[in-house]
Symmetry: C2
DNA sequence: CTACACGGTCCTATATTGCAACCAACAAGC
DNA sequence: GCTTGTTGGTTGCAATATAGGACCGTGTAG
């Protein structure tokens, strides 16, 4: 699906499989703009400064991947717009995590250009972070990653956390 | 920093700035492996099936970006290993969000190869998701994204959410 | 002294991206 | 009815990045 030399889609890892859909340079920025209300070709193009043929490719990939869908623009309008599907909207945690990491670690001198908020209060959204079964924020060292049963083994076996 | 045609690093948007560090095809998979304990060049190479020169580039970029650092492997050992910095470890929410999205929407027929857990209980980590100031899980429609004061305006002005 | 593992570098072929030109469909102005 | 401009693309070409394999210097094992 993604147009690169080596596809991740046959990998079993969910991260790789996700990146196969949204891992190319512009995909997540297109999704970000879609979440902020961009719907038309020109919106993405003008806002991102992306080349038109590249944008065409990315949009087609995202539609094919079920993240965007083409919908009629409205009564009387002839063109179609690009709208996020539920699948696409559920990428919000990824977008939020990226934005918050960037705010903390590689902030622009002028501050962030986008603020993610709790609509009800207008306040800035709290940091998205792993939580345990009780909803308590966890230290990262308390998060484990292990191979699933039946998964191909890792190569490095010197130690296990 | 990242070696692509057009750099995102001068964009004000935090998402773009983050992607400038981790947006290339392999970066996030390298970080995933590092989180699972990979430390040596060969670990990444064998596990990912990435070309060696590409791996060299990506590792150098990540070190330059402060996400990995080279550390002496240990007493008596001559080589250096790649270890996540705090900056790198804090990408965990991104990795988790990608993994959980993939598990839900593009799962492999054999199931996930990696399971992310709460170490204390061994249970699967709950879904990482935006929460309000009280720690309550939010509906995505309750999350707002708006331009910061002073940010360049969006091009599309037809509607505001 | 020889062989091999490790962590690279260098070269070439292919794939992807950026850029600019071009184009068809439609709308607005005159 | 004709011209112009906007939109949403497509097509070529040049530049860049990736995959793959050959090669290499250092260190270790035998």
């Amino acid at each position: 699906m993604a147009m690169k030399t080596k596809s991740f889609s046959n990998m079993q890892c969910s991260i790789a499989r996700t990146l196969d859909h949204v891992g190319s340079w512009w995909s997540l920025l297109i999704i970000r703009d879609a979440m902020m209300g961009a719907r038309r070709f020109k919106h993405f193009q003008e806002n991102l400064g992306i080349a038109k043929n590249t944008l065409t490719s990315r949009l087609n990939d995202l539609v094919e991947g079920g993240i965007l869908e083409k919908v009629p623009a409205g009564s009387g309008l002839t063109y179609e717009e690009y709208a996020l599907t539920e699948r696409g909207r559920e990428l919000a945690p990824v977008i939020i995590a990226l934005a918050q990491w960037g705010d903390k670690w590689v902030a622009h001198e002028k501050g962030p250009s986008t603020v993610i908020t709790v609509k009800a209060s207008g306040e800035q959204l709290p940091r998205i972070w792993p939580r345990d079964e009780d909803g308590e924020v966890m230290a990262l060292r308390a998060v484990g990653m292990r191979r699933a049963n039946g998964a191909p083994p890792k190569i490095w076996t010197e130690e296990e956390e």
